[in-house]
């Protein structure tokens, strides 16, 4: 069942590498650069509890072969902030994560992607993941 993603919604970009986070707790552009298919994965908060959000984060790295890929934290950002950069957020349902979405409408040029990633990173709020916050999935 599709739903409208309104500007006031919040989405989470799971941070899977420590070097995406600066020493002062701010987020580097690396966390928001799109992959080759220009669909940047995020998870909608909607009515999820903190535990449920973190559980989705753990599912992303579950069974990953590289031990360096870990759930470090997440970067939360409002959909309205994303759309003001001429990007969009669309549903991208996954069986294990019905709240999965994509940030889309990225430009093709690398410098423009970097500029947008810098803006998103500057606007996002970082929360570090600790085991106490959630039981592992």
């Amino acid at each position: 069942m599709t739903s409208i993603i309104v500007d006031t919604e919040c989405v989470a970009r799971f941070v899977l590498r420590q070097d995406w986070i600066r020493a002062d707790g701010t987020i580097r552009q690396d966390a928001f650069l799109p992959p080759k298919d220009l669909n940047l994965s995020v998870t909608r908060h909607r009515t999820l509890s903190e535990d449920e959000i973190w559980s989705h984060g753990n599912n992303v790295i579950k069974n990953h072969k590289d031990p360096k890929v870990q759930l470090v934290g997440r970067a939360d950002i409002d959909v309205g902030t994303i759309r003001r950069q001429n990007l969009d957020v669309v549903e991208a349902w996954q069986e294990k994560n019905p709240e999965h979405a994509h940030i889309v409408n990225w430009p093709n040029a690398k410098p423009d992607q970097k500029k947008l990633a810098l803006e998103l990173a500057a606007a996002a709020k970082y929360s570090a993941y600790t085991m106490e916050k959630s039981s592992k999935a």
């Binding site: 070097d19 080759k36 410098p111 423009d112 500057a122």
Partner: protein, 163 residues
């Protein structure tokens, strides 16, 4: 000293079960030994810890999906170009933070605060893609990497770090 440390790193990287290195692991090790050697030998002036950081990232990001989101592995050429870029950073400039991007390019960041930051990516085809936020404005562009530090990027970095 670093040369002596290398064999240990190879063994550590290739550790499997008691059967030892697989053929593919050995191949990967050898390829990235070349990269590491380039990273460590190409610069003799300053930014020593940046060289080590580049070497570390080259090892960590040598396989696809190193970021958990399907990123492309860092390429030998990207790493070599990044190593050359390190060599031309003026020694009086602060050391940048180094990262790897989903397309396998290496990035260099100079940062003051989230609204005063510049990131420069070094591509395989020897281009420098940059983006900067300076207060309420932002700039981005591409400069060819011709062996000299582009003045346009230098100006932006100086505006950010001297704030």
């Amino acid at each position: 000293m670093l040369l002596k440390a290398k064999p240990q790193r190879y063994v550590l990287l290739g550790m499997r079960s008691s059967t030892g290195l697989s053929a593919s692991a050995e191949f990967v090790n050898e390829r990235f030994a070349e990269v590491r050697e380039q990273c460590e030998s190409s610069c003799t002036l300053g930014h020593g810890s940046s060289k080590n950081e580049l070497s570390r990232l080259a090892m960590e990001c040598q396989r696809d999906d190193w970021d958990g989101y399907g990123a492309r592995a860092i390429s030998m050429q990207a790493c070599a170009n990044a190593s050359k870029f390190l060599c031309i950073i003026p020694p009086e400039m602060p050391q940048p933070a180094i990262g790897v991007e989903p397309d396998g390019q290496v990035s260099f960041e100079w940062y003051k605060d989230p609204r005063h930051v510049i990131s420069v990516s070094v591509s395989e085809d020897s281009n420098l893609h940059y983006a900067a936020i300076i207060g309420s404005s932002s700039q981005s562009g591409t400069e060819p990497f011709l062996g000299q530090f582009p003045s346009s990027i230098l100006d932006l970095i100086e505006r950010i770090v001297s704030r």
